[in-house]
């Protein structure tokens, strides 16, 4: 049980660190975001009351009337009420609403693509690592090219080849704009068609890492004594591969899921930009170019929260599938 408590404790600390970082960044850096933001708000026809000013000052700093610790607690209080301010670029929608609209796009795209890449990569890695020394295995170093390709460049290349030259897929967007979003077959079909290229980009760019990690662990696992024992017992190679070797070799890949997820999310932020995908990443960049600091802060918090949450789930699952981690702590 203490393993689970420790993990939950760690993620609580990480969450606190992220919130604090979010509080500290605008206060530590040069520039006066509050004034820029309020000027923009006024341009859009927003009413600037002293309360609005105070709310933004809490979020971004610049309020001199209160001591810093007081600002900090008010900021945390606002966050726990779900109050992230009003978005300037989507005025008058509150930040939480803008996030809510773009969230499903990213979660489905990145989630599906990551799961596909992980499953394919681990399966291929186990297969290649099982018979080390074959011609397939000697091709492994070539996969580093895939892993070193910048996500957004791969996106550009795929768009050029598959969308522009061959015309199989639409160039950009999340769905056909003539359709209204909803749960009908036509819209979902369009969303799949538009989402295919971004998903393919993420899968191609991230599969190499999974493959390589699994293959290397497989090679290490194969020289363990229990594999020799299993062979000596006369078990069939398939059974050894499935029940003995890959099960043990996959553990670091599961543990590494946490770190990979951070990278995938980072990569997909820029990929979304290439495809003008209506997800979180596109919104974040839009917020940056519009100086929409409140939306920027909100999105950063949200992305961090999502990554932390996913990691917590993976870590808890890891404790279940590998009893040794529980015993050790």
């Amino acid at each position: 049980m203490s393993y689970f408590l420790r993990k939950i404790g760690f993620y609580a600390v990480a969450l606190w660190a992220a919130l604090t970082l979010n509080f500290a960044i605008p206060r530590m850096l040069p520039g006066n975001p509050v004034d820029i933001l309020l000027a923009k708000l006024q341009q859009r026809g927003g009413q600037i009351t002293p309360e609005t000013r105070k709310a933004y000052a809490l979020l971004l700093g610049g309020d001199d009337t209160q001591p810093l610790w007081r600002q900090y607690f008010d900021y945390l209080g606002n966050l726990f009420q779900g109050d992230l301010g009003v978005s300037v670029s989507y005025y008058p929608a509150p930040v939480s609403e803008v996030i809510g609209q773009s969230l499903p796009w990213t979660v489905i795209l990145v989630g599906l693509a990551t799961v596909i890449a992980a499953v394919l990569g681990v399966a291929l890695g186990a297969f290649v690592g099982w018979k080390p020394g074959t011609w397939l295995d000697s091709l492994i170093p070539a996969t580093t090219l895939l892993a070193a390709v910048p996500y957004f460049w791969l996106a550009l290349l795929l768009t050029y080849l598959l969308a522009r030259v061959l015309g199989w897929f639409p160039l950009q967007g999340g769905y056909d704009v003539v359709l209204t979003p909803g749960w009908n077959a036509e819209f979902i079909g369009s969303a799949i068609q538009y989402g295919f290229l971004p998903a393919l980009t993420i899968v191609l760019a991230s599969i190499g890492g999974w493959l390589l990690g699994m293959r290397n662990m497989m090679v290490s696992t194969l020289s363990e004594d229990y594999i020799l024992t299993a062979e000596a017992k006369g078990l069939s190679p398939r059974k050894i591969l499935r029940s003995y070797a890959s099960r043990n070799a996959v553990l670091p890949s599961v543990a590494g899921f946490a770190i990979s997820l951070g990278f995938v999310v980072s990569g997909s932020v820029i990929t979304e930009q290439v495809f003008s995908y209506p997800g979180i990443g596109g919104r974040l960049l839009g917020a940056v170019s519009n100086n929409d600091y409140a939306l920027m802060q909100g999105l950063f918090l949200f992305i961090t929260l999502a990554v932390l949450g996913a990691n917590l789930v993976v870590d808890l699952l890891y404790g279940l599938i590998d009893p040794r981690t529980r015993a050790r702590s």
Binding site: F10, Y11, A17, G133, V149, W210, S266, L285, Q297
Partner: protein, 352 residues
């Protein structure tokens, strides 16, 4: 940014023993100590070093031979030709000249960030693990927190707050270094923990050596391959990270890197105008340079994790055995000697 990650977990300190075992098996003399720290030349390593050398040379010397990358001509978007090997941009600028300067810019930021990030990770990883107890717990928690906070969104938010005019090369370098050291620190910590408890480290401590001397003289040499591998990894992710930032227009304001080239290509509608010569080369250079560095990392991995090296030696021996068997079979067919007689001789050959 990237999902290249250091894959091998075993300790470097084990490698000497394991390699000694291998050399007993192969019947060769174990190699000298310092040679353990130098990767064996394999075709893949040669390709990697070749790629790195070619691209570095292009970045260093290339700008001397090409014209001014900013010269505007009235011949926008011409495909590659004899005069302009890689064609021109929308405003008639020479893509090759831009590429040379951009490669230099990207390499520069890669090396700066690589050094900064490695220094940070060495401090938090090695020093924390060496001191142990509270310091280790604190540093380790700090590292893990930095590891789970997604790097690029953080970098984007920080760059978004810094006004464009004060966003220089060093600002970007420091921001990238601060967000990318954590992974390496964790690997270095694990390695240090295993080296720290060796007898010779204890002996050095008991004889009254100061902590920094124990770390530098006794522990650091064992960690060199790991640090080298982490440095290589840091350079790749820095180049990729900077390219990503510049591509979305948040890079250093006065620099020209491969990422800014792609930014201008994207904003100049290179994609919809079909100007592949404008956006393909910058990304290709990043990918090839990253591949070169990863291939070097592959060879360093073999030093850290000798099981991977044994695998290659095993493969080599298997190939030689197969070749000998083939030759013997051919020889016996030619001479009409029954293959049974050739057998003992062949066994000796394989054993060697």
């Amino acid at each position: 940014m990237t999902n290249l990650k250091p894959t091998s977990e075993p300790s470097v300190a084990d490698s000497a023993e394991l390699l000694a075992e291998t050399s007993v098996e192969t019947g060769r003399k174990p190699r000298a100590g310092w040679r353990m720290l130098v990767p064996t030349m394999t075709p893949w390593l040669a390709i990697g070093l070749g790629l790195i050398a070619a691209i570095t040379l292009f970045g260093l010397i290339g700008p001397l031979f090409v014209g001014d990358p900013r010269t505007i001509r009235d011949m926008g978007l011409t495909p590659p030709s004899g005069e302009f090997w890689l064609g021109t941009t929308q405003t008639g600028q020479d893509v090759l000249a831009q590429l040379a300067y951009a490669t230099r810019g990207s390499l520069q930021i890669g090396v700066i960030v690589g050094l900064l990030a490695t220094a940070l990770s060495a401090f938090f990883g090695i020093y924390g693990a060496y001191r142990g107890r509270v310091v280790d717990e604190g540093f380790s928690l700090f590292t893990n927190v930095f590891l789970v906070i997604p790097g690029l969104p953080l970098v984007i938010v920080i760059s978004g707050f810094v006004p464009a005019e004060s966003r220089g090369l060093w600002t970007i370098a420091i921001v990238l270094a601060v967000t990318s050291w954590a992974g390496s620190a964790r690997v270095l910590r694990a390695q240090t923990l295993s080296v720290r408890n060796r007898d010779y480290v204890a002996a050095s401590q008991v004889s009254g050596e100061r902590p920094w001397r124990v770390i530098v003289v006794e522990i650091l040499p064992n960690l060199l391959p790991v640090i080298a591998s982490q440095f290589v990894f840091a350079v790749i992710s820095a180049i990729l990270g900077e390219a990503g930032l510049s591509f979305i227009g948040l890079g250093a304001s006065n620099s020209s890197t491969l990422g800014t080239m792609l930014f201008y290509a994207q904003n100049g509608f290179a994609l919809s105008l079909g100007a592949w010569w404008w956006f393909v080369p910058p990304g290709l250079i990043i990918a090839l340079f990253g591949m070169g560095l990863s291939l070097v990392n592959f060879s360093i991995d073999e030093i850290i994790n000798p099981k991977l090296k044994n695998l290659r030696l095993h493969r080599k021996r298997a190939r030689r055995a197969a070749r000998l068997e083939r030759e013997l079979a051919q020889a016996s067919r030619r001479n009409g000697v029954p293959s049974q007689q050739a057998k003992p001789n062949q066994d000796k050959e394989i054993a060697r």
